[in-house]
C-alpha cells in the first residue's frame, strides 16, 4: 500500500469515526432501556443461531444469521463504535472504559470457550459417554463463539454506560 493510499484510508477511518461519534439519528435507540433491549435481542439472536445450527436447519439458520448481523450493525452504531474504533479515534475516557469492558468480555468469552472445550472433551471420551458430537454440533459452538467474540464488547458498552 502506497503512502497516499495509507493516508487516504486513515482519513476515511477518521471521517467515519467522527460521524459515528457525532451521530444523533439513532439517539432514540440510545436510552438505557432500549440499549438493554437491543443487547437482549442480540443475545437471543446468537442463541437462536446456535440452536438452529445444532438442529441443522439451514434455511432458518441463514435467516437468523442475517438477523444477527443486522442487530450487530445496529448495536455497533448505537454505541458509536466505541468498542471497535482504533485508539487514535477515541478519547482517553472511552479508551479507559472500553479496556474495562474488554476485560469483562475476555472473562466471559474464555469461560464460554472453556465450557465448550470441557463439554467436547467429555463427549468425545467414549469410555465416559456414548454420545459423539457431529459436525452440526461443532457448527453451533462455532457460531456461538464467533458471535460473542464480535458482539460482546459492544453489548457490554451498551449495557453498562450511563450515556452514549
Amino acid at each position: 500500500m502506497s503512502r497516499a493510499d495509507h493516508d487516504a484510508r486513515t482519513r476515511k477511518i477518521a471521517d467515519d469515526a467522527e460521524r459515528l461519534q457525532r451521530d444523533t439519528r439513532l439517539d432514540a435507540w440510545r436510552t438505557p432501556a432500549r440499549r438493554r433491549g437491543l443487547v437482549l435481542a442480540t443475545l437471543a439472536a446468537l442463541a437462536g443461531i446456535s440452536v438452529l445450527a445444532w438442529l441443522d436447519r439451514s434455511v432458518a439458520l441463514l435467516v437468523a444469521i442475517a438477523l444477527g448481523v443486522g442487530l450487530y450493525v445496529l448495536l455497533r452504531r448505537v454505541v458509536r463504535g466505541m468498542a471497535d474504533l482504533p485508539d487514535a479515534f477515541v478519547d482517553e475516557r472511552v479508551r479507559t472504559m472500553r479496556n474495562e469492558r474488554y476485560r469483562y468480555a475476555y472473562q466471559v468469552l474464555s469461560g464460554v470457550v472453556m465450557l465448550l472445550l470441557l463439554a467436547g472433551y467429555l463427549a468425545t471420551d467414549a469410555s465416559r459417554m456414548t454420545w459423539q458430537p457431529e459436525a452440526r454440533h461443532v457448527h453451533a459452538a462455532f457460531w456461538m463463539v464467533l458471535g460473542l467474540s464480535l458482539a460482546l464488547p459492544s453489548m457490554l458498552v451498551a449495557w453498562g454506560e450511563r450515556e452514549l
Binding site: 461519534q21 477515541v90 478519547d91 482517553e92 475516557r93 472511552v94 479507559t96 450511563r162 450515556e163 452514549l164
Partner: protein
C-alpha cells in the same frame, strides 16, 4: 477528585460541545468530567488548564472546593454588606 469545570464553562458561556471541541474529546466526556465520574489524565488536565488559562490546582483538587458564595462573601457581616 473535585473540579470547577461547571463554573468555568458557565462563566465563559461555553456549551459542552464547544469545550469538547477545544479539548479534542467527546462532548459526553466533558459531562463525565464535570460530574466527577471520570478523572482526567495529567495530559488532559494540563490541556484543560491551558484552555482556561488557570493553574491546574485552581481547576482540580483532591479536597472539595469552597463554594463560590462562601468565598465571595466570607468576612461580610450581613448579606449585601461590605467588608
Amino acid at each position: 477528585m473535585h473540579n470547577r469545570l461547571v463554573v468555568l464553562r458557565a462563566e465563559r458561556a461555553l456549551s459542552r460541545q464547544d469545550l469538547a471541541d477545544a479539548l479534542g474529546v467527546h462532548y459526553q466526556t466533558v459531562g463525565y468530567l464535570e460530574r466527577g465520574e471520570y478523572n482526567p489524565t495529567l495530559a488532559l488536565a494540563l490541556r484543560i488548564s491551558a484552555f482556561f488559562e488557570l493553574p491546574v490546582e485552581a481547576i482540580f483538587s483532591l479536597q472539595p472546593f469552597t463554594p463560590m458564595s462562601a468565598a465571595l462573601y466570607a468576612g461580610r457581616d450581613e448579606p449585601g454588606g461590605s467588608r
